[in-house]
Symmetry: C2
Subunit: 600 residues, 2 copies
């Protein structure tokens, strides 16, 4: 087909419908469809083509009695050829296929045009594929033809529009912040961009627009949002990408309750409009301390029970010396009661759980099975009847349950049991699909101790405001101060987080002081923010949601690569377009750079 | 004010209105306003504060009889302090100020809270400012408080939403493309990002998502859009920024007419919804050749006449040897008739115009004034009565008009007269403010001759499709082929451009061939696109609009820096946050780089 005939065909045959939208109500209509040959079969002297576009698949029938030339052309069609079809919608009658949304009809082709032919693709364009991910990433443009991935992208586009329209309706302005900027305070490694016109100097790609959004508040924009790309040069885990997308927002003159309420409204609208799920009216809230006490983690999955119970008081005189000694040393004994675990969990299962707990620092996992007539298991002989009764009562345990204990520091007991709790729920199938449990985690500690140096480090970032009642603690015991910070957790994943920011320079200076910054260091890093706060900054706060994670949870995709059109591998490479790649030496000269590859 | 009292005040006094929205209809209402002290005056024992927020300014009155303590606090207020006010809306009665939207009312303050104080700003926060731009960029967060810039950002945010909602309503999907990618074919200099985990390799920041959007078409997404940042490391002109924003779109199975119609709908909606201007039903179109012939440029300003007239036929035997010799050499003699220019333009004006024309390569500017009784001026003596009459008739000239001529190559005659035309219109005030003249320029040449090498180079980019009727010319006379390309020009600025793309690999290969790429070079640069075209690519085309320019024209801002929140200087620097800046040597080691500053 020459260029002219393609142009002529398109001009003379404007598309009337998308393949996926045809229904019985279209019967007898003349239609023009464009799409890809998903399947073609020769049956009983006729050819049946499944024609696929973004909206779905529809069957096209070619009948030699209906047009010899068209039938001949159809005979040459192969998978993934791109074609246009003009024809008439007919009922499939008794041959209806109720598995297909378009299964009640077929299109009897009168004319077919081949826009382009296709080689045999390296893997089948089907939802269920066993092609390995590297091959699929190399041919991403074919992988993206799979209906599942098309749906991911359609959902993602919808979420974008819902978010923006909701925020604009709530008085937010969309403001674009720079991508060529300087280091921001998130503390991960920056991607750098050498400057050609400023020799020896570098831009940083933003880890978030944190400073800019605070400056927009100083500038009086009142409510800001942006769906924005952020960049972190970190060693990649399965759920990390070097570039990721944030729903970023900041508000002036605002209380945490108002921020949370606005975000809940946004999330509820997304779930209702995209997957027709009505979320609860207002989301549960847990203080950080309570979350960690009850679930071991600050991103608890509330779709199941298995709460952690603290026996440090009840077992401080236990005959089991591991327990009593740990408690005497200031540690904790905490446990989980697994309902029915006495029968559903084998000794092998329990050994595996112990190994799992050790990943998080636990020395061991003590356990007992609750039987009708007492306990069995490693530690049961150390427990007298009275202690057993106390433990069973606090656990709410019944015969047939399995009791698991970790004795360690508070942090290790929580981390190991918190993760064990998730693992057990997965093993025992306690998680109902399609269940969405949101919880706000509030009142985080303002600081945490840096694991390496032991020094105080901000738990979020250094602009997070303490609770008003804790301002004085900054002088006396900053490690006891709590932050006006809040994370939103969905099904055990943090999907967003934010805080009220410091807007008074004397408080900001105190924080920098506590963090050990000299005045000069603070100026070098954040001088322009400190300056800005000299000119009437409003009280303000904000939040950022991780868009990739949110869409992956919404579409039930375990891997965020399935909700990103062109993701990178764990080596931070795009293997389709071969990025990063070597560049012309002349380019480096212009950038005043030399490669130094000896280190490797 | 401590943190606690700020929090308490915000909790107990949720904002009821924005300052700028109060009207007579609010009289007698209790209101809570937040904002900045724009002005405060002590008049007749009372204090009047102009309180400013994003939506406008409203007068707040403090009366000692109404509350002694509040009055005292008000007495301490200074410009740009950030405050909250609770009070009652009163009529200003006879003191109404019709210059202010809120001028009919004032708020009698009952309570005032100071959120933060301010130093004296380095310049007044007023629309009319004589502060130099460098100072304003350094304190951009204060500059952005000026109502004019706030309005720019508000308009920009509105345009974003209108564009997205319009495109989504027209079946477009928003898909995010990578920022860490590889060189794209625009041909400007790339910004590079060194990779840490892939030593010696670099990402490029995209000059546009051109290849990705074409791949999205191959992937079957049918209609794609994105409001996306693009990056070009070019020497900056007044209207260029190292990062800029594009409304980017691509469509499958589409004709140029359909694309243009969709874009016209979008532009019309923006102008209607944002500035309430009804644009003409369908935009004018000019073929490239006609645009250049009549206006000298391919981005003509149609708000005024002064069209170029070609006298190469009429004057080929002119006694004025400069004319006849130029024509004999294959050059052109073209002219502009300036109505009334004989009186409105002095000799000095004309000399200045000649200097201006020389910038574009003209050797000189011949001129004549048309008087009631003949011509006067440098060249008049070379023209006999008959030739004068011929010229006057073709120009439609009348007594009092000024005739200007350039004799040169076609390109120089067009460029110099085309730019002269714009300059004269500006000088003579021929441009009506608030006039918006759109024109599509179509059928660009497919190739142009590279100025340096003389070789054929794509006029747009190498993926632009020839016109269907010109496919055969690729073999015989590629320089004569025209492209299926179209630019949208508004008031003499190109605001968007696009084309139908090549979707057949054999045509694409021919183009690469004509451009002198070896097969290997083509593969190295665009291998993944060539591969993708083996798998049933749909016919497709698209367009990109320059958002910064569009918003600057919409808001009548001459400088795109006034429609970008945090723009960079001509040295590509952000002088507020000091980017680019030097980095820790350790960071360069991690990136396998060394500085090489000797060259400078």
């Amino acid at each position: 087909m020459t260029g002219e005939t393609v142009a002529t065909f398109l001009q003379e045959n404007p598309r009337t419908h998308m393949c996926g939208e045809l229904r019985a109500s279209h019967i007898d209509q003349e239609v023009v469809l464009f799409g890809w040959v998903s399947r073609n079969r020769d049956l009983g002297g006729m050819i049946f083509v499944d024609l696929r576009d973004r909206e779905g698949v529809c069957q096209v029938r070619f009948d030699p009695d209906y047009g010899e030339e068209t039938f001949k052309k159809a005979d040459s069609l192969r998978s993934e050829w791109c074609i246009g079809v003009r024809g008439k919608v007919l009922s499939r009658g008794e041959n209806s296929n109720s598995d297909m949304p378009t299964g009640a009809i077929e299109v009897m082709a009168e004319e077919v045009h081949v826009f382009s032919v296709a080689q045999t693709p390296p893997f089948l364009i089907r939802d269920e594929t066993d092609a390995n991910e590297m091959l699929r990433l190399e041919y991403r443009y074919l992988d993206l033809r799979r209906p599942k991935l098309q749906q991911s992208m359609i959902v993602r586009s919808k979420v974008n529009q819902i978010v923006r329209n909701y925020l604009v309706d709530n008085g937010f302005l969309e403001v674009e912040t720079p991508y060529l900027t300087r280091s921001t305070p998130e503390g991960a490694r920056d991607y750098l961009v050498p400057s050609r016109v400023n020799p020896g100097k570098f831009y940083a790609l933003p880890q978030s627009p944190q400073l800019f959004k605070q400056l927009l508040m100083v500038a009086g924009f009142d409510r800001y949002f942006q769906i924005v790309r952020c960049f972190r040069d970190e060693d990649l885990r399965a759920d990390r990408q070097p570039e990721f997308t944030q729903i970023d927002m900041e508000l002036s003159f605002i209380t945490p309750d108002e921020i949370m309420s606005i975000c809940e409204g946004m999330i509820k609208k997304i779930f209702k409009d995209v997957i027709d799920v009505d979320l609860e009216d207002s989301f549960k809230r847990l203080r950080y301390d309570e979350a960690v006490d009850r679930y071991g983690l600050d991103d608890p999955d509330l779709r199941f029970g298995l709460e952690l119970v603290d026996f440090s008081e009840e077992l401080k005189d236990s005959d089991f010396k591991v327990f009593s000694a740990t408690i005497a040393d200031g540690g904790k004994v905490k446990g989980i009661c697994v309902p029915g675990g006495a029968t559903s969990m084998s000794r092998k299962n329990i050994d595996a759980l112990e190994e799992f707990a050790k990943i998080y620092g636990a020395k061991g996992l003590a356990w007992a099975k609750v039987n009708e007539d007492g306990w069995s298991g490693s530690i049961s002989r150390f427990f007298d009847d009275e202690t057993r009764a106390t433990v069973e009562t606090k656990f709410g345990a019944n015969a047939g349950d399995l009791l698991l204990f970790v004795a360690s520091t508070r942090n290790i007991a929580n981390a190991s049991l918190g993760n064990l709790r998730k693992q057990i729920a997965k093993d025992l199938g306690l998680i109902k699909e399609g269940d969405f449990k949101f919880v706000w985690i509030t009142e985080f500690p303002l600081f945490e101790h840096d694991e390496e140096t032991g020094e105080l480090a901000p738990m979020h970032h250094p602009f997070t405001s303490p609770r008003p009642q804790d301002f004085d603690l900054l002088e006396t015991a900053p490690e006891k101060a709590y932050a006006q910070a809040y994370d939103l957790v969905l099904n055990g994943s943090e999907i967003g987080g934010g805080s009220i920011r410091i807007h008074r320079s004397e408080i900001q200076e105190k924080i920098f002081n506590i963090l050990g910054f000299t005045e000069q260091e603070a100026r070098d890093k954040f001088g322009f923010l400190i300056d800005a706060f000299q000119y009437g900054p409003p009280p303000h706060g904000g939040l950022a949601f991780g868009m990739d994670r949110l869409v992956s949870l919404l579409t039930n995709k375990p891997n965020i690569r399935d909700v990103i059109a062109f993701p990178k591998t764990q080596r931070a490479s795009d293997i389709m377009c071969d990025a990063p790649s070597v560049v012309d030496p002349e380019q480096l000269v212009e950038l005043h750079l030399e490669l130094d590859l000896d280190e490797d």
